[in-house]
Point group: C2
Chain length 188, copies 2
């Protein structure tokens, strides 16, 4: 079985990555460490930079996952800064910004960047479209999950259990592409 | 006269830096180029990183200036992400987040980081306290200037001309410390 190290300090994300590893047949080893994130509106650039830095620091192949909620009516805000905005404005801040806003389309995006001196840095993207709910619902997931309803669902991400979320999430889609690539690139 | 290079893509900031140079007796040479900004809640860390990268890229001593508006009722938001938040939520987004909020204290902070292979990287900080206005006023300055009223003033930064703003601004305070240090460190 493939073993992959992921750097993160987010426990909710770590739990999902480990569970995604089980789903797709790879062993996820979480390294609880902060990563260098640059300010860029493109998640891929943020993830490439973070993966390169983590690899240089740890001296071995490593993956990072960066994700963001892009709300159309807010010009893509909070996007790559979702974690900081969650900590400062929180869910209520987003709901306040979205009050009296009818167009509630949003996209949750995930980028996994895998840095390996032997093969370079590769990025894998996943996204799921949906809408911002009018109030927070559910206790599962993390971050803005209580206000994001993916298409073809009546539940927010936070109302789903981890398996339900992993069947449809942005992170799951990126993770599957990553695992497919691992299998193809490192045939064992 | 001292000559100092500053890297920025912000024309409003460039204009102020050139004018501050005239005020404090140094020649400011603006290099219109983007800089690497990391995601960090501490402006000093962002500025140190940006200055180091700019120096490495340009191969010569260089300064960067990073600033942010820290609103107390919003847990410091938008802080180091002021530029991104200005482009996405804009002034109206901040006013919406601050609607029905009585405690309107805020701090504008500026950090200048000067990177020079001979002396290392030095940071100089300035800040000005004030309040967030209830509506945008004035056409001067840039960014969130139309909604920031510094203490002991009845005008927003955007209602001041550049000389009035430079007498009291966070950027001016950081700039003065920088110039004092330059004179002391490189006596000519």
């Amino acid at each position: 079985m493939f073993k992959v190290g992921f750097v993160t300090t987010n426990k909710g994300k770590a739990r999902e990555l480990i569970e995604l590893g089980r789903l797709y047949g790879v062993e996820v080893n979480v390294i609880y460490s902060s990563k260098v994130e640059i300010q860029d509106v493109d998640l891929k650039t943020v993830a490439l930079h973070a993966a390169l830095n983590a690899m240089a620091q740890l001296g071995k192949p490593i993956a990072v996952e960066d994700s963001g909620l892009f709300i159309k009516a807010l010009n893509g805000f909070p996007g790559p800064f979702s974690s900081y905005v969650y900590k400062t404005l929180g869910i209520n801040g987003i709901l306040k910004l979205m009050s009296d806003v009818d167009h509630r389309e949003a996209v949750f995006k995930s980028v996994i960047a895998y840095a390996d001196p032997g093969v370079g840095i590769h990025v894998f993207e996943g996204e799921v479209r949906g809408t911002i709910s009018y109030r927070a619902k559910g206790k599962g997931g993390f971050g803005f999950d209580p206000i994001f309803i993916p298409v073809n669902s009546s539940k927010t991400f936070a109302e789903m259990n981890i398996n339900e979320k992993n069947r449809v999430s942005h992170r799951s889609k990126a993770f599957k592409l990553f695992v497919d690539w691992l299998r193809k690139s490192f045939k064992t």
